[in-house]
């Protein structure tokens, strides 16, 4: 069994083991899960080190690394040809960083799961299932497999939010589920359409291989998504329509304005570890999907619609930030800030420049660490006094100095303070967006300038929160009662937070640790989509 399979199936297996273990051991489950995530972390660290940065991947199957390809389902469907579904895993520079991100965030999420007190068995089993599914999404290169993992994430999340969430958890869980399902059902139609449009040149069968789908030469003459045939559905080019459908499916995850409204609800209602995973990883799956699927398979449609995607990005940046400014609930504020920050990802991707795409990638990774940190911190506060209202607190810096220090790091890193990863990421997405007009003419320059207003607004809401909640004389809504409950961060929390802060810092000071591994891929990706 190779590393990728291991990293996917290890949590799955352990999840089953946890299901089987008697409930009397339930206090041990968190340790088991922690160990699993740590092993994953080690494996992904090893993969990171072993990863050869000089090979691009993207649209050449031979250039993927750690490839595993087993035939899985072969169905003879008569006229529809032979169904060719592979168990096909592999990574390139676009997916490898996410493996590491996922492992780290998962470990942190486990550490924050200490707050979960009820029904531990189910919680950790679902947690590990989710873990496996996410890993699978990032590794899968067969579209069918990808879709299965993609959908598989939904169920555990539904229950994790729904069973351990806040007061309106049912509403939030359902909303989240419906949104994502809405996107993915239509995605399924496009997947099937692609399947029938593409043949594997080696076998002559239709195939779900994503890499094969990227080569226009593999499309059957006159098939629905063939670029040459340029069929129209409902008066729109079929390829453009498919692109839009896929884009919406992934963009719901990202999320974009106006498809973002599940996010504040889901984040706010979810228990802390799930908020961490949602913000830290789930949102990135949207961005990853847009890169891996939407742009790679439909580069022509991508160039047609990049202006709109860029616009959506800018609108998300500003709209999210303005909403964040209006929030009273700290978690909601962080959630809206996610919308704003993920807008940069879209902007960078839409620029179609190396700088923009690299920036977007880094922004995803950086936001992964930072939003996880932010949600963790909110969770720490909430766990202590069960309140997240910004107006309920004042002068926390005096009461919880270490906590405040972490908050400061997280806030300033999030608002793009140089030295932290978000700065490099945001700067380069914007640079990419700005230079796009010169390089390929995809985005007008004002979008970059519009996007940079987001940087300003993010400073405004984070600093306002900092000033309102942490500075000044201590004054709490809960009075002396809270005073005793608001203990500073403990060792476990520090252990969880420190690597996140450290990663954000490290990526800010040495962005090359991320860029070096993905640069070749990004260059090739940009060449591929713009050629």
């Amino acid at each position: 069994m190779s590393l990728l399979s291991l990293i996917i199936f290890l949590p799955l297996l352990v999840g089953l083991v946890i299901l089987i273990l008697p409930a009397s051991l339930q206090q041990k489950f968190k340790y088991i899960t922690l160990v699993v995530t740590l092993i994953q972390l080690v494996i992904s660290g090893f993969i990171y080190l072993k990863f050869d940065p000089s090979i691009a991947g993207i649209h050449q199957e031979t250039q993927f690394q750690l490839v595993e390809k087993l035939s899985w389902i072969r169905l003879d469907l008569g006229t529809a040809g032979k169904l060719e579904i592979d168990y096909f895993l592999g990574i390139d520079g676009l997916s490898m960083p996410f493996l590491f991100l996922t492992s780290l965030i998962m470990a942190v999420a486990v550490l924050s799961s200490w707050e979960i007190k009820t029904n531990l068995k189910a919680f950790f089993a679902l947690f590990l299932l989710l873990d496996a599914a996410i890993m699978g999404v990032f590794c899968a290169l067969d579209f069918f497999l990808f879709y299965i993992f993609y959908e598989l994430m939904l169920l555990p999340l539904y229950f994790l939010i729904g069973m351990w969430g806040g007061i309106r958890r049912e509403y939030a869980a359902m909303k989240f589920f419906l949104y994502t399902l809405f996107g993915s059902v239509f995605m399924l139609l496009v997947i099937i359409g692609l399947y029938f449009s593409v043949v594997n040149p080696a076998t002559g069968n239709h195939t779900f291989n994503m890499i094969t789908m990227m080569d226009p030469a593999n499309f059957v003459q006159g098939s629905i998504f063939s670029a040459a045939a340029n069929l129209e559905l409902f008066g729109i080019s079929a390829r453009l329509l498919a692109f839009i459908v896929l884009f919406i499916a992934f963009a719901i995850k990202v999320p974009i304005v106006p498809l973002h409204t599940w996010l504040p609800d889901a984040h706010v209602e979810a228990p802390t570890p799930i908020s961490i995973i949602l913000a830290g990883i789930l949102l990135k799956i949207g961005g990853y999907g847009i890169l891996r699927v939407c742009f790679s398979i439909f580069p022509d449609a991508a160039s047609q619609s990049s202006w709109w995607i860029g616009l959506i990005g800018v609108v998300s940046i500003i709209y999210g930030a303005l909403n964040a400014l209006a929030q009273k609930d700290l978690k909601r504020l962080v959630a809206y800030s996610s919308v704003s920050h993920m807008g940069f990802v879209l902007l960078g991707i839409a620029s179609g420049t190396v700088e923009g795409v690299s920036g977007a990638m880094l922004q995803m990774i950086s936001h992964g660490f930072l939003s996880a940190m932010l949600f963790f911190l909110v969770g720490v506060l909430y766990q202590r006094v069960h309140d997240r209202d910004i107006y309920s607190f004042r002068g926390l810096a005096t009461l919880m100095p270490a906590y405040s220090a972490f908050i400061m790091v997280a806030f300033f890193a999030s608002l793009g303070l140089p030295g932290f990863s978000a700065f490099i990421a945001e700067a380069f997405t914007l640079i990419g967006a700005f230079s796009s007009e010169s390089v390929n003419g995809w985005l007008p320059r004002w979008m970059a300038i519009g996007g940079s207003i987001g940087i300003l607004l993010s400073a405004a809401y984070f600093l306002w929160t900092l000033q309102r909640m942490f500075f000044g004389q201590p004054r709490l809504k809960g009075g002396d009662n809270w005073l005793s409950q608001l203990s500073d961060v403990n060792l476990r929390e520090k252990i969880a937070l420190a690597p996140l802060a450290l990663m954000a810092l490290l990526l800010g000071i040495l962005p090359s640790i991320a860029f070096d591994k993905m640069n070749t891929s990004v260059i090739e990706f940009v060449r591929f989509i713009t050629s």
Binding site: L322, F412, I455, G472
Partner: protein, 683 residues
């Protein structure tokens, strides 16, 4: 030579890192007792290194070293140091003043429980400031630029339990962010046009910027081209960054508020060093600016100088007077830059750093001592209000004399450093205006006016603080005692006072052109030297200044002056700082607040609403379908019944069983098809 250069590189990096090490220490060690020891050790080492490098570099060589930082696409972003005259001078300036302020802080901050943080923050500031100065790369410069802003945020909000301090810190950071956005946009343009951030490559001799040409409205560089407009936009964008940092109009309002921080911090960051970074930036990237932008800079500079000076006239908070004075002087520097005199600007930057730092330290000494009084006597009063001071000349002689020296330098009387640098700017601006003529002359004349206003407000300050009687005693009707500040504070002030005198900068007390600093920089624009200006202007300025000082003496020391009518429009305008905060509040903050409230309303009511609508679409549709199932059957039947009522009178008895509803409906659908079929066939 190469090996030596290597040494400089290591040393320069050490100079940056040593102070930062102090900051890192704070993160992990909460020990307050030896914080200052490490901080001072660090900054001293840094200072010695800087001095050493300065001697090696000044007018001798340029140390430039680069290493690859990261590669993005095919572009490799380097990180490195570039120490030329400008950087070397700034290094010495920054570390030197920092060292003095550190020593001063020993006493000033002695009783604060969080001094380890204070030391750490200062260290962070020094490191970042040094990085800013020596960065050879605009991206790194920008990073350092924001980081000094960040450390300034930390230091302004050092007493974070004070709401005013926290708010001021936030305001400072956000206003700087506005400028940073400009800076960032400048970076976009530079990167798009030239594909590099390397300062040497961009702005050095035969740099990319210099060799780019404007042709037919297109700005053509070796690696790309943009519409010519973007050249101007780039200049203005960078200047926007500089303006925010150097508190130029209209982004100046954060600086007076920043006085909420400890006075030592004000003196170091908000008077001597950080605020000068804007000027430094303009000097660094000077070749980028075209005529339009330069004129823009000059006008902004002189207007800011005038604006701040008028405001300083009426302020009663000792630190605010100095803060506006700083803004005003920064305006002067910008004016110098805008008129093309980089050297003059930098010269004034250097001299101003010393005397303004001194002014703040002296003010800090007074505040500190009054604070003791406040604490000891347990009375409540504002320790910074000059209306409650007076007569301190006898009580704090060292403070008095050093502050007078600094004030004279600020006014620009002969034998002070200020005289040299101010004359350099004034005379140059006159020459500049002369060469252009027309309305451009307004600029130097305004500058002249500003220098008199400066004389007035600083004289007012000195006379009110040190002369006459101690109004606090009179007000509270008690006797207090105040004494000279301790040695840690006294000696830095004395040293700075020495540095405010002419001989540090030039052997000739009256002729600025002899200054060695000026010789270190190229005159960007060679203007015709008009000899008359070199005598007439200093003479006029100084004579009138002396008159003003006398006037002030008459007004503020001698009894009998009734004071200006406080209801006077100009007085109110000045005292309320030209209503800028209020205007911003009305024009920007309120609308933006309303905007986000509106956006959030939109979010909840409309976006979420639509989605919920779509969500309830399911319920609606299901009710439609249930309606179909439940009522359509009845409905059709009932509908027909209504028809039947009109035809006959038996509709009342119309009652059929449910099973038959089903059958009727089913057959109705079948019939629909049949009828359809029938008619389509006829067609």
């Amino acid at each position: 030579m190469e090996a030596l250069s290597q040494n400089y590189i290591v040393l320069a990096i050490l100079a940056v890192l040593l102070p930062v090490a102090g900051f890192l220490r704070v993160l992990f060690i909460k020990n307050t007792s030896r914080a200052f020891f490490y901080a001072i050790a660090g900054i001293s080492a840094s200072f010695i290194i800087s001095a050493y490098i300065f001697t090696a570099v000044w007018n001798n060589q340029t140390v430039h070293y680069q290493a690859n930082w990261f590669t993005i696409g095919n572009t490799t972003i380097s990180i490195g140091i570039l120490i030329n005259n400008l950087a070397a001078l700034m290094m010495v300036l920054v570390t030197g003043i920092s060292l003095l302020v550190h020593i001063y802080s020993l006493a000033y901050m002695k009783n604060d429980p969080l001094i380890h943080r204070y030391c750490g923050y200062l260290g962070l500031f020094c490191g970042c400031m040094l990085l800013l100065v020596i960065a050879d790369n605009l991206l790194v410069l920008y990073m350092a630029w924001e980081l000094v802003g960040f450390s300034s945020y930390l230091l302004i909000g050092f007493w974070f339990t004070k709401d005013a301090a926290a708010i001021a810190a936030k305001k400072a950071f956000i206003m700087n962010r506005i400028g940073d956005v400009g800076f960032l946009i400048g970076l976009f343009i530079i990167y798009t046009q030239f594909g590099t951030f390397d300062i040497q490559k961009l702005f050095g001799e035969q740099g990319l910027v210099g060799s780019a040409i404007l042709h037919n409205g297109v700005w053509i560089a070796a690696s790309g081209q943009l519409p010519a407009m973007w050249l101007t936009v780039a200049g203005i964008a960078f200047f926007m960054g500089a303006a925010a940092k150097s508190a130029q109009f209209p982004l100046h309002t954060w600086l007076p508020d920043a006085m909420e921080g400890p006075t030592s911090v004000s003196s170091l960051i908000h008077a001597a060093t950080m605020v000068a970074a804007g000027v430094f930036l303009v000097a660094r990237i000077f070749p980028l600016f075209n005529e339009t932008v330069l004129l823009f800079i000059a006008i902004t500079g002189v207007f800011t100088a005038f604006l701040a000076a008028t405001i300083a006239l009426t302020q009663n908070d000792i630190k605010r007077v100095l803060a506006f004075s700083t803004i005003s002087q920064l305006g002067f520097m910008m004016l110098a830059m805008g008129t093309g005199s980089v050297a003059g600007g930098i010269f004034h930057l250097a001299t101003h750093a010393f005397f303004k730092c001194l002014l703040f330290l002296a003010a800090g000494a007074i505040i500190h001592e009054l604070g003791h009084v406040k604490e000891k006597e347990n009375v409540d009063f504002d320790t910074q209000d000059i209306r409650l001071m007076g007569g301190l000349r006898k009580r704090m002689p060292v403070t008095f004399y050093t502050m007078v020296v600094a004030s004279l330098a600020l006014v620009g009387l002969p034998f002070t450093s200020g005289y040299l640098s101010k004359d350099a700017i004034l005379i140059h601006s006159f020459e500049w205006a002369k060469s252009r003529g027309g309305l451009f002359k307004i600029i130097p004349y305004t500058a002249l006016l500003v220098s008199w206003l400066t004389t007035f407000y600083i004289s007012r300050l000195i006379f009110k603080v040190f002369f006459g009687e101690w109004r606090l005693q009179k007000k509270l009707n008690a006797i207090f005692s105040v004494h000279e500040s301790p040695a840690e504070m006294k000696y830095p002030m004395i040293i700075l006072a020495v540095f405010s005198l002419f001989f540090i900068f030039s052997y000739h007390p009256l002729l600025f052109e002899k200054s060695w600093i000026l010789s270190g920089f190229d005159q960007a624009e060679s203007l015709q030297r008009i000899n008359a200006f070199h005598t007439i202007i200093p003479a006029t300025v100084n004579l009138i200044s002396l008159l003003i000082i006398y006037l002030c003496y008459r007004w503020y020391v001698k009894p009998g002056f009734a004071g200006v009518a406080q209801s006077n429009f100009f007085y109110r305008l000045s005292e309320s700082q030209w209503y800028f905060d209020r205007i911003y509040d009305i024009l920007i903050i309120k609308p933006v607040t309303q905007l986000w409230t509106a956006v959030y309303w939109f979010e909840r009511r409309v976006v979420d609403g639509i989605v919920n609508l779509a969500g309830s679409f399911g319920i609606i549709s299901s009710s439609v379908s249930a309606w179909v199932d439940k009522y359509l059957i009845d409905g059709i039947v009932n509908g027909v019944a209504v028809l039947a009522k009109r035809i006959g009178d038996f509709s009342r008895h119309f009652q059929t069983g449910r099973l038959q509803h089903y059958l009727v409906t089913m057959l109705f659908f079948v019939l629909t098809f049949f009828v359809l079929k029938y008619f389509t066939q006829l067609l």
